[in-house]
């Protein structure tokens, strides 16, 4: 009854897409309008925190190596940290805007974990390609939330920050358990799934 890894990626992709849409809307209308309704202010930080919590069972049930366990565990921690910091700021429990540095930290740590725990080359299989692509996207994409910390009203950086989430969701939706990438599939990857 346990789902294959690709289903888990697609479920997380949906959460990431919703966070991206919320961030995009917030970038368009501005913080004042977005936070006019209290529940909306908590929406995307709550989603990020919830995805961090849900990453723990992923770590437990989808661990096929120590490095996988460490990667999933680090994602769980930094996702929860970034979500909780944003929740604390919205609630008024935290005051320093530098708590928002947890978001670029989350991007950088997650991206590094993707790159470090992928043992195969780019064209080994689609999953390997996506691990490399997502890893580098998150590492370079961390510049957007970093700039948002110092230029919080910049629509360009905020839109870029939101679009990293949208692009990430597209990549996660593209994941397959064993599938070719641009016609390449290593014989060592196993039999192709549908």
């Amino acid at each position: 009854m346990q789902p294959a890894a690709e289903f888990v990626h697609w479920m997380f992709a949906t959460g990431v897409l919703l966070v991206g849409l919320c961030l995009l809307a917030q970038a368009i209308v501005g913080d004042d309008v977005w936070r006019r309704r209290a529940w909306r202010a908590y929406l995307w930080p709550g989603l990020a925190f919830a995805m961090g919590v849900l990453m723990w069972p992923v770590m437990v049930f989808f661990t096929n190596s120590t490095v996988h366990m460490l990667a999933h565990g680090s994602w769980a921690q930094v996702l929860m940290l970034a979500g909780a910091a944003e929740l604390g700021l919205v609630r008024g429990k935290l005051h320093s805007p530098y708590w928002r540095l947890t978001m670029p930290l989350m991007f950088f740590v997650s991206g590094s974990a993707f790159l470090i725990h992928e043992q195969n080359s780019w064209f080994f299989a689609r999953a390997a390609f996506l691990h490399h692509l997502i890893g580098w996207t998150l590492v370079f994409g961390s510049i957007f939330p970093l700039l948002v910390v110092f230029r919080p009203r910049s629509a360009v950086w905020r839109t870029g920050f939101a679009l990293v989430f949208v692009v990430l969701s597209v990549m996660l939706y593209s994941d397959r358990d064993t599938a070719p990438i641009f016609g390449h599939l290593s014989p060592e990857a196993g039999a192709q799934h549908r």
Binding site: W10, L21, V33, W34, R37
Partner: protein, 91 residues
């Protein structure tokens, strides 16, 4: 037309464009899911459910994209647009 009036009208147009953009996010996402379903119909296992396992029936990526669009379009966007227009009216 005075410069002040022209500036105010341009501001109203810009604000309206923001509301339209927020309104379009949900339908654009749904459209993405529909296009994906047409491009890869075999991923919509509801179209051929016989012999499929639970997860293939429960988790269908194009439908998840459409669902995300529906959630945003019906639960989030209307309130955002309403608040945006209220903020614009307050000036």
């Amino acid at each position: 037309m005075s410069t002040q009036l022209a500036t105010e009208r341009a501001a109203v147009r810009r604000r309206s464009a923001r509301a339209h953009t927020v309104y379009a996010l949900g339908p654009a996402t749904m459209l993405g899911g529909v296009l994906w379903a047409f491009l890869q119909p075999y991923r919509v296992t509801l179209l051929h459910p016989r012999g499929q396992g639970f997860w293939w029936l429960a988790i269908e990526p194009p439908l998840l994209v459409i669902l995300a669009g529906i959630v945003f379009a019906f639960l989030v966007a209307p309130g955002v647009i309403e608040d945006l227009e209220a903020a614009e009216a307050e000036g």
